[in-house]
Symmetry: C2
Subunit: 140 residues, 2 copies
Amino acid sequence: MRASPPEKEPSRRNHSWQRQRLLELLRSTDSHPTAASLHAALRVDFPRLALGTVYRNLDVLVSEGEIEAVPSGEGVARYDGNPTPHHHFVCEHCGEIEDLELPLPRGLLTRLQRRHGLTPRRVRIDFYGLCRACSDPNPT
Amino acid sequence: MRASPPEKEPSRRNHSWQRQRLLELLRSTDSHPTAASLHAALRVDFPRLALGTVYRNLDVLVSEGEIEAVPSGEGVARYDGNPTPHHHFVCEHCGEIEDLELPLPRGLLTRLQRRHGLTPRRVRIDFYGLCRACSDPNPT
DNA sequence: TGAAAAATAGGAACGATTCGCAAGAATACT
DNA sequence: AGTATTCTTGCGAATCGTTCCTATTTTTCA
């Protein structure tokens, strides 16, 4: 039983088919899927795909810097295929996570350096509130 | 067997002894303990204290706004007894979490509002890097 | 083509957290 | 005080996301 070669060449050999498709899937969405939902989605093409394989490949992609793990704070890890640095808005009602293109205020880092003597390598900003849909006073 | 009334009156009745002491413990430290370490510490005074009780009371305190849960991103939840709004610096080497008193840049919220039409209720900023101790080029 | 290296499926194992429940306080009401 | 009501607890079982282990399959590359 084969479960690998579907139709066309992977854009870059070096990765297994599974990993290749996992990355493509993450790149193609701006939602922030869990390992389980990625597993479910990929099972269409790879019926024997194991959940453990998804986790393993997610780890590989994260350590390659291709994707990012987004600790959602609710027990399940979410993954972000957006390779550009950005921040997040988390809706407290529906749980949706939205990507934000926001330049990091310059003063923040200098202040951190001056007041605490710390030089971060990375900054993560999460905003919490109601997304546009959920704050709409006029639901369906 | 009694495990409750140790020595002096709790500062505020309404909470059980266990919960009272849990809060005091969290208030008295600027580390960010896990449920397990809190459990271990409280077991000195309450030898029969159940881990489940710690979790239950942490939840209560969080929902009362007395303490804050800090999703550490490493599988274990950490709890923060610092009641004032603040941000965190997470050391990527030793895992230490440091509280930061940093005013939130004004422009950030207005920009978020203007560019994305979002009005957050809360902002969380986590800096990642090496703490002063771990970045010291001259270890012991 | 063949051997070595990398990746996979499958399932067991793990660790943090939650749940359910019977027993124990605390509080309220009479 | 006495009793009903409500809030908590301890304990153990159950859940659930994630990791680990191993035999097998794919991929790499000489």
